[in-house]
């Protein structure tokens, strides 16, 4: 449904996208995961025909993003990175406006947005600017869906939104997917990767990995030991000092430790840490998650990461 072929894009000195290629199937819920400035927004804007790529090409539903931009705009729904509805219009006025912009009406496509809109309908007379973060997001999604798009492009819909609203939002996306809408969604939250069919990990304008979350984590080369003790700060410092340590990063209440080779045993760490006067030590192997993978992939070209200016992704 979406086909991206060797797309590159630069803003003045910074290269935002470096020869990106990606294919997204019909009906897929595809994640684009990476930190701010990785190139997510640029890529989405190119797909939304809002930016021209410097080189390469892309098709949305078989339509070229440069030549057939008008047709694409009719068929896709888009939610930009920041809340982009009219704050001084009410919920209903926003929705009706966007419906008419796409030459349709709220009534015509009510069934598609019913479940989402239903939750904000009690406040349809309220100005959009007065809504809570979670409700704004629902309204924005309703507006993006009002013309029954085949493809939905969502740029960081869950950023700055609390955990509850985030969870609800992903539930809504799952339901939309059942209606055969192809969804490309970007997020800086690594834990959301598991909710996607497939994800593309993006960093510094390059795709680090594209696959299903489980395939990605299963390819993780090393072994991860999760460790805890009573003093987190000292634990991290001591683990990093361990002679066979490659990395030690906090993950929730644990520290995820990777060794320079796969021969580091949890028991070995326990002994070492006991020697450093840690108490209530726990150490055991765990399965890596997307965040572990991302960090691993990042650190392999870390030299590149450090020292490069922030991408002026948002103009």
């Amino acid at each position: 449904m979406i086909k991206i072929n060797n797309i590159s894009k630069s803003y003045k000195a910074t290269q935002a996208l470096k020869e990106i290629s990606l294919e997204i199937q019909k009906g897929e819920l595809h994640g684009l995961i990476g930190p701010d400035g990785a190139g997510k927004t640029t890529l989405m804007r190119i797909l939304m025909t809002l930016l021209l790529p410097d080189s390469g090409n892309a098709q949305m539903g078989g339509l070229d993003v440069v030549k057939e931009y008008r047709k694409i705009r009719r068929k896709t729904g888009y939610m930009p990175g920041r809340f982009s509805l009219y704050q001084d219009l009410s919920v209903e006025e926003n929705l009706r406006f966007f419906a008419s912009v796409f030459g349709t009406t709220l009534e015509e496509n009510y069934d598609l947005i019913r479940e989402i809109y239903h939750q904000i309908e009690p406040f349809k007379k309220r100005r959009a600017g007065d809504l809570s973060g979670g409700m704004k997001q629902k309204l924005a999604l309703s507006c993006a869906l009002i013309h029954r798009p085949q493809i939905l492009i969502l740029d960081e819909p869950t950023t700055g939104v609390d955990a509850v609203s985030r969870q609800e939002f992903w539930e809504m996306l799952k339901k939309l997917q059942e209606k055969e809408i192809t969804i490309l969604v970007s997020t800086p939250y690594m834990d959301e990767a598991n909710l996607c069919d497939r994800v593309a990990l993006i960093q510094n304008g390059q795709l680090l990995e594209v696959d299903s979350p489980s395939n990605i984590t299963s390819r993780f080369p090393g072994k991860i030991i999760k460790v805890r003790s009573d003093n987190m700060h000292r634990l991290i410092a001591d683990l990093r000092r361990f002679k066979k340590a490659e990395s030690a990063f906090a993950f929730g209440q644990y520290v995820h430790f990777t060794g320079t080779d796969n021969k580091v045993e949890p028991s070995e760490l326990e002994i070492y840490l006991a020697g450093c006067n840690h108490e209530n030590i726990e150490a055991e192997y765990i399965e890596p998650d997307i965040e572990d993978v991302f960090m691993k992939l990042m650190s392999t070209d870390k030299e590149k990461v450090v020292g490069e200016g922030e991408r002026q992704e948002k103009e």
Binding site: Y78, Q87, R96
Partner: protein
């Protein structure tokens, strides 16, 4: 068409829900007009005048006495001949000379019409305008009071002449000038701000990603402000008439058509500004500095174009307001028809078309 309709509806929501927009649209024009008006209009008292009475009959003497006893004027000199007029104006001792023609009373009696000439020192145009209009007022008052029962209307025809500034360049001009300024400013400023606001809040990104065409967005932005600006023009003409007594001598419909043309031109200019400016602040700066100042200074609104250095005179030719001021002055004050102003109208029309086509061309269908 439905798209456009709902776009316009949306624009009206924006306008009516924003206090600041409403204030700029309606508050500023009215206050500006009143300020300009009152600054120019001030009370007069004991203005030195000279009288040259060629008939010295009952009527002319009575009228002279009435003028001098009004408190507005003070007799400086009774002239014996017309030759001294130039001299006393040069000295600056009097502001007005009143000349009664020969056989004033008799002519009034016999023909129903008598002439009195009012010559004012128009080096201070506002003062000159006030002085002559006060005098005219007193004369008219005298007629109606003296002969209330007369069937045939008696008329004393005050013939006003402006000395030094024959055409009285700035009197009565503040209404046409202010109208041009306000319409220019409000139209260009409001459209450019409302478009750049959409850029700033990110809603433009959504509009661009929709099937809306640039023309639809532009027309959707222009139409609401056109309507409001026309309403504004009505208010200005109305206040000019009611508060300052500025008449509309010519066709009101022609006046409004020309006004709509000028507003459309200003709106297109506003759109043009918004294609350059990325933020509301920049749009405001461009509108104020690049439009308002030249409009005030170079359009002939305050400073007569004839007195400007040649370079500035040349510049004034590209000021749309210059043509508009000429047009409305001609319609409102001189009462002329399209035959006398077709050239200016064509120039405005040309400018409008130019700005529209550049705007549509420059309006980006993408973000960069």
């Amino acid at each position: 068409m439905k798209q456009l309709k709902s776009f316009i509806k949306k624009e009206f929501y924006h306008i009516f829900r924003d206090v600041r927009t409403m204030l700029i649209l309606f508050g500023i024009p009215i206050t500006q007009l009143l300020i300009f008006g009152t600054v120019i209009k001030n009370e007069i008292s004991n203005v030195p005048v000279a009288i040259y009475d060629q008939s010295k009959d009952d009527v002319s003497l009575e009228l002279s006495a009435k003028i001098l006893s009004s408190g507005y004027f003070q007799l400086n000199e009774n002239l014996g001949s017309i030759a001294g007029i130039d001299e006393i104006f040069r000295e600056g001792t009097v502001k007005q000379v009143i000349i009664f023609e020969n056989d004033f009373g008799e002519k009034l009696q016999r023909e129903g019409v008598a002439n009195v000439q009012l010559i004012a020192d128009a080096s201070d145009p506002n003062m000159a305008r006030l002085v002559t209009s006060y005098t005219t007022g007193i004369i008219n008052d005298y007629i109606t009071k003296m002969h209330p029962n007369l069937q045939m209307p008696l008329r004393i025809k005050p013939e006003v002449r402006m000395y030094f500034n024959e055409e009285m360049k700035s009197a009565y001009q503040f209404v046409p000038g202010t109208m041009a300024l306000i319409l220019m400013l409000v139209s260009a400023l409001m459209t450019s701000i409302s478009i750049t606001r959409e850029k700033e809040t990110g809603t433009m990104e959504v509009l661009l990603a929709s099937p809306l065409r640039p023309v639809q967005i532009i027309v959707g932005k222009v139409l609401p402000y056109l309507l409001l600006s026309v309403a504004n023009a009505f208010v200005i003409v109305f206040i000019g008439r009611l508060v300052f007594g500025v008449p509309v001598a010519g066709s009101f419909i022609l006046l409004m058509l020309e006004t709509i043309l000028f507003i459309t031109m200003a709106l297109c200019l506003g759109i043009l500004i918004s294609t350059i400016a990325k933020t509301q602040l920049v749009a405001m700066f461009i509108s104020l500095i690049a439009l308002m100042l030249p409009t005030i200074i170079l359009s002939g609104f305050i400073f007569p174009i004839e007195n400007m250095p040649t370079v500035l005179q040349w510049f004034s030719h590209i000021m749309p307001a210059r043509y508009f001021i000429t047009i409305i002055r001609a319609i409102m004050l001189k009462g002329v028809g399209i035959l006398f102003i077709w050239k200016e109208t064509l120039i405005l029309l040309g400018m409008t078309l130019l700005f529209i086509s550049i705007s549509v061309k420059k309006f980006k269908v993408r973000l960069e």
